[in-house]
Symmetry: C2
Subunit: 552 residues, 2 copies
């Protein structure tokens, strides 16, 4: 009776780091071989990292990747691993037209065996929506690829292929496929893991085949790949899953399409949305910092909820000792803004210092005769200047602590509180920031640890403290209402009248829509941050700055 | 004998301003009718402006545009203009799936006649390269549209359709088309007008038909549509052209595909590359300022060439009185940096003031103990803070004066000299900045006007003046060499070894490539500015920030 031991190899590649990505793959194959695997499946474009964007059009990049894959096949064979079938993702050049230095590439998966590339499959369905631009950089493939091991027939598909009908999915039955091997680069969104499980189960039952789904893991700029690779049998039952948010390798033994059993201790996870979001934010920050070679981060600590949550995420990601807090009080700062910041630092155990902004503000205010909004913005800009100066002096990455709600309505000072290379809660609505703070504190409680976020930062009315007695709700609707309205306008793309029909006050709707539309130029200059929703600001939502559309 | 009088109506729409765009179209039809036209051709998506990006996915937007087109047809008829055939560009919804608020739209051109929409054509070839994302937001059409007037057969095509073979181009002969009517939204690039002329002539001769090519004109964010609409007869001879960089309307009388004569004084232009670039930069700035409702601009004047050229462009665009210069001297500023800035202001006639940065710099430097790079960046950031404060106080749009070479190698201080909403010379290499300065001064000389750029700003060695005696060439290769190298790496996408093979020193190539790759995060937060080359920073060149690719 047939039996193939398949390793689901969920790794965390770095875009462009071809040789270290493949070194990690080599170690994975070696370990899987030692565990008795004779088939190893990696994620989409694991050799180069993903997404590579316009690097796909640079012929030296794609050639280097292709050559590395051939060399990898040889290396496996030289190491006595040539008997193992390895399925690995990488780009390849279709048309070797180097006349202008451009590559015409495909998003591929190759089968390596016996020291050579025995077959290469090119992705059929190229996603060109949301954050993806694959029609821009790849040409679609149009042929299926399948191979046999020990009487079992395997077919290869890549990510978007299984989200669309037609093409390779339609060929599964005709090929009499026992096991579909799917390489994925599927970024995290809250709730998406269940969507993927349902999709994979449906693929299995509709085509009467087992499905191995291997995702990447790790942060890449504004995307977080959450892993959660899985195996289902032909009746759609989940056999095993890889870990969320970390590298993992799980084994399954396949006797037939309907007889698939797990051969390692992987477990099916119960999802908790806030936990998943927190972990995505932590991984996104950790990998941005680590993959870009920063030793540490710096951020302003205002005593408010946003900077507190960012500091806690950063401490979970890279260790509290690498998170440098700065209290930046002004003459308008409340006592609690300082004490809450120090309480936070104390709870987390992060280094904090105070840099008062009063002297710089006074000199600028007097020289430039500022008042009102220009004086408020000045305070935020002096804070930004201080953080960037300390970043330059000490080598930290500056974090900017704005949340999605603020970004949406432009409630920030450009070149002020928005300065920084990475925005940890950019895609987290204000109401979710509070939920995350409570969730993180509760988790600490459960584990017998000190809750990181001061209760006072959670319960006090949010304020930018740029003038005496100021609170956010002087300028903005209550956050519950505001976030609901923004969800309808931004995520669901409803029109003004449709939103009003949902029960919102007309004047509020008009004002919020205007704020959102007018803030586009600020968002365009904002730092990147991890996408956790179906509609993140950035390449997920591409709108003109110059735009006079009047909603109806 | 047949005779159709065709008006090429080259207008400057604003994205989203559907009713005022169509009001302008109405006036154009009325004027053309008074001139005897019985066919009026507008540019691509003129009703909504172009490109509309993800607005195409908002169903209220596309529905509003479609309804406006129907109403426009009625209005024409009500005004006694129903006999005229009007061909006009707009988006339309294919699949009216409003379940999630998303539209599934096409990029269309409708023929209006007798008070109704008598036919609608959907663009077949959707550009999804360079700055375009049309596969993202539109679905392709697959049917030709042609109609007859007075025995002449007209076929409609939209922009990219004529840059690709197959589809509607292939149908021209089969349809026995006399005149191809092509609606375009083709952005300016230096040298592109001749490419278009050649393409249109080839289309005519290969398909034995006359071709009317109407382009949009005007700035839209980082794109400048240069107009230059044209008419060629079936032997490929240019009959007439519309103006460059301004709205225009030209008439031709068409007796047959090979008998086309001009009926208005449009003239074929002789191209001057520097003049075209200058005019593109002027129009881009004017429309960004005007379409976004700014009364004026403000910029720092350092006495250097970049700020001088930006000021001259701005003055040409919106009038010197609306261009506010600020001299921002430091303790390291040379006498000439101040005197050259005042000389420039005097030549141009723009208001200038001085805001010394010394006091703010001293306070920050002392408080934060800055020196070296952090102290240099501080100076730039205090300048940025002053400009933004004055912008907040007085309502000006802040211009940032960095050139393409600086942006490429990251030779700027983020949140310092990079502050601003618009970057007039963002896509202009340093060597071209000097050429433009000389060209603009020569033009003034020829016209008997005062040359705007001080000779000293052109001839002195470029310096950021952030430390005593500093010049750019302390840190960077000579600009001639640097710009040639950048062209190979960025525009031509050559690899390291290929660039070295062109005769560049290995150490220089490695250093420049590293500078370019490492500056990606800064570019991502930069202001938009007008594209004038085939490879502008921004959506033309999409690269990951996290990227460890080592060139070979």
């Amino acid at each position: 009776m047939a039996s193939v031991r398949l390793a689901l190899a969920q790794t965390n590649p770095v875009v462009g780091a071809i040789s270290s990505n493949l070194e990690e793959c080599f170690q994975q194959v070696k370990l899987a071989a030692a565990e008795g695997a004779n088939l190893v499946l990696f994620g989409e474009m694991v050799a180069t990292g993903y997404p590579i964007e316009d690097l796909a059009q640079r012929h030296t990049f794609v050639e280097q990747a292709e050559q590395a894959i051939s060399a990898f096949a040889t290396r496996l064979s030289d190491a006595g691993l040539g008997d193992i079938h390895v399925v690995i993702g990488h780009p390849a050049i279709v048309a070797p037209d180097k006349a202008n230095g451009w590559a015409i590439a495909q998003n591929c998966a190759s089968v390596l065996h016996g020291g050579t590339v025995v077959g290469t499959y090119a992705k059929h369905h190229l996603p060109n929506y949301s954050v993806f631009d694959e029609y821009r950089v790849f040409v679609p493939g149009n042929e299926s690829l399948n191979f046999e091991i020990d009487g079992l027939r395997f077919s290869i598909l890549i990510c978007e292929d299984i989200w669309q009908s037609g093409g390779p999915v339609a060929a599964l039955k005709g090929n009499n496929t026992d096991v579909a091997l799917v390489l994925n680069g599927s970024p995290f969104e809250a709730g998406k893991q269940q969507t993927r499980r349902d999709l994979v189960a449906k693929l299995a039952t509709e085509n009467n085949c087992a499905v191995a789904y291997v995702n990447l893991v790790g942060g890449q700029d504004d995307l977080v790949f959450d892993g959660a690779s899985l195996m289902v049998d032909a009746i759609g039952a989940i056999v095993t899953e890889c870990a969320n948010f970390e590298a993992d390798r799980q084994l399954v033994d396949i006797s037939s399409r309907s007889e698939v059993v797990k051969a390692s201790p992987g477990a099916i996870k119960s999802g908790d949305e806030l936990e998943d979001i927190w972990n995505a934010l932590v991984l996104g920050l950790r990998d941005y910092v680590g993959k870009n070679g920063f030793p540490s981060v710096i951020l302003g600590l205002s005593g408010g909820i946003d900077s507190a949550v960012c500091a806690a995420i950063a401490a979970d990601a890279i260790g509290a000792q690498n998170v440098h807090g700065v209290s930046l009080p002004s003459v308008y700062s409340s006592d609690h803004s300082k004490s809450d910041a120090f309480d936070l630092a104390d709870r987390i155990g992060l280094p904090i210092r105070t840099e008062a902004i009063a002297d710089m503000v006074a000199v600028a205010e007097n020289q430039l005769k500022l008042d009102g909004l220009s004086a408020e913005n000045l305070q935020a800009r002096v804070r930004g200047l201080i953080l960037m100066s300390l970043s330059n002096l000490e080598g930290h990455l500056t974090l900017t602590t704005g949340n999605k709600t603020e970004l949406a309505v432009g409630y920030s000072t450009i070149y002020g509180d928005s300065v920084g290379g990475y925005a940890p809660i950019k895609d987290v609505a204000k109401t979710v920031v509070w939920q995350l703070a409570r969730w993180r504190n509760e988790r600490a409680d459960k584990l017998g640890q000190t809750p990181p976020i001061p209760e006072n930062s959670i319960v006090k009315p949010p304020s930018a403290e740029l003038r005496p007695g100021q609170v956010d709700q002087d300028s903005l609707p209550e956050y519950d209402l505001l976030d609901s309205l923004l969800e309808l306008y931004i995520d669901e793309r409803l029109g003004r009248d449709e939103i009003i029909a949902r029960g919102f006050e007309q004047a509020t709707v008009d004002r919020v829509i205007q704020l959102v539309d007018r803030a586009e130029w600020k968002r365009r200059q904002g730092a990147i941050g991890p996408k956790i929703t179906g509609m993140a600001f950035g390449r997920d939502r591409r709108l003109p700055i110059t735009n006079r559309f009047k909603q109806n």
